[in-house]
Subunit: 158 residues, 2 copies
Amino acid sequence: MATAEPARPGFALPLLLLAGFRTLIDDLHAELAQEGHPELRPLHGFVLQAVGADGTTATELGQRLGISKQAAGKTVDRLVAVGYLERADDPSDARRRLVRVTPRGADGLRRSAEIFDRLRERWADTLGPDRVDAMEDDLRTMASANWFRLDVPGWFGG
Amino acid sequence: MATAEPARPGFALPLLLLAGFRTLIDDLHAELAQEGHPELRPLHGFVLQAVGADGTTATELGQRLGISKQAAGKTVDRLVAVGYLERADDPSDARRRLVRVTPRGADGLRRSAEIFDRLRERWADTLGPDRVDAMEDDLRTMASANWFRLDVPGWFGG
DNA sequence: GTACGATAGTCAACGTGGTTGACGAAATAG
DNA sequence: CTATTTCGTCAACCACGTTGACTATCGTAC
């Protein structure tokens, strides 16, 4: 049972974690837009990352992201439409449709990594490198399990 | 510019923040479901909190949450349907429809606060109270701005 | 007292992201 | 050669968000 009025109410922690996540992602996409990728949405970067350099299929992508193959397929459609992914037939299996990152997608991915590195440096400059390291270590300790699940919209909503 | 291979790649930080948030929210709702509130979705708790003890209107709720009045109205509809909110006419203004938390909603809110306190205690037990305090302080420093905006699904998606 | 602008709420249409169920086409196992 | 599995897609649906248009009401200015 919680005390009547804790000095540090528990509800602040998740809000702060969300605000931190959101700040980083918003900063990323503000930078990304300036560097020629204004269409990229928060979800898209994670999807591109999940497709990876070797390419994959919609079904496998769904498994990696923790969503259904149908949802993965629709997301791929949208990213194909904006030029970040492309589909190709698999010569060895006519059922499969290979999903690959386009050069434009690879550029977005590379820039994202660089921007995330710069943002982390900014946090380290403000808070001190040890504090950022500690934050990461502590979060790794507490959140170890559900790492790479990006069904955020459906999870958070309904 | 980022170094070729940083010891701590920047992309991990947002992922860890999201994983931490998600872990807390998942733990909360697992507990909440056991305590008789299985219908409550992650978003709903934030909405109930935003409605507050005094009640509000859909338009004002939308302003508080950073979403349109139409979106706020639809969310209220859903929470009314599951019994967490109720609508009432405003005797002093026939245009306004008061939105109030029901007793069931208040129960969910009270339990949520208690569970969040317990979860924070659990984090403090594992990491040490000073580390959790530091994490909160650091996040407050870096994320100061966009605190109470809960348009997460639309923001993250598209 | 009436006319008018501002405000509250709703309806409709749409986009994104998610789900399940059904189905055809192709690979694989027997 | 047939039976089963697997991949991709289609269709229908739900949650959440958006903008635009509209009605009803309030408050004010004349």
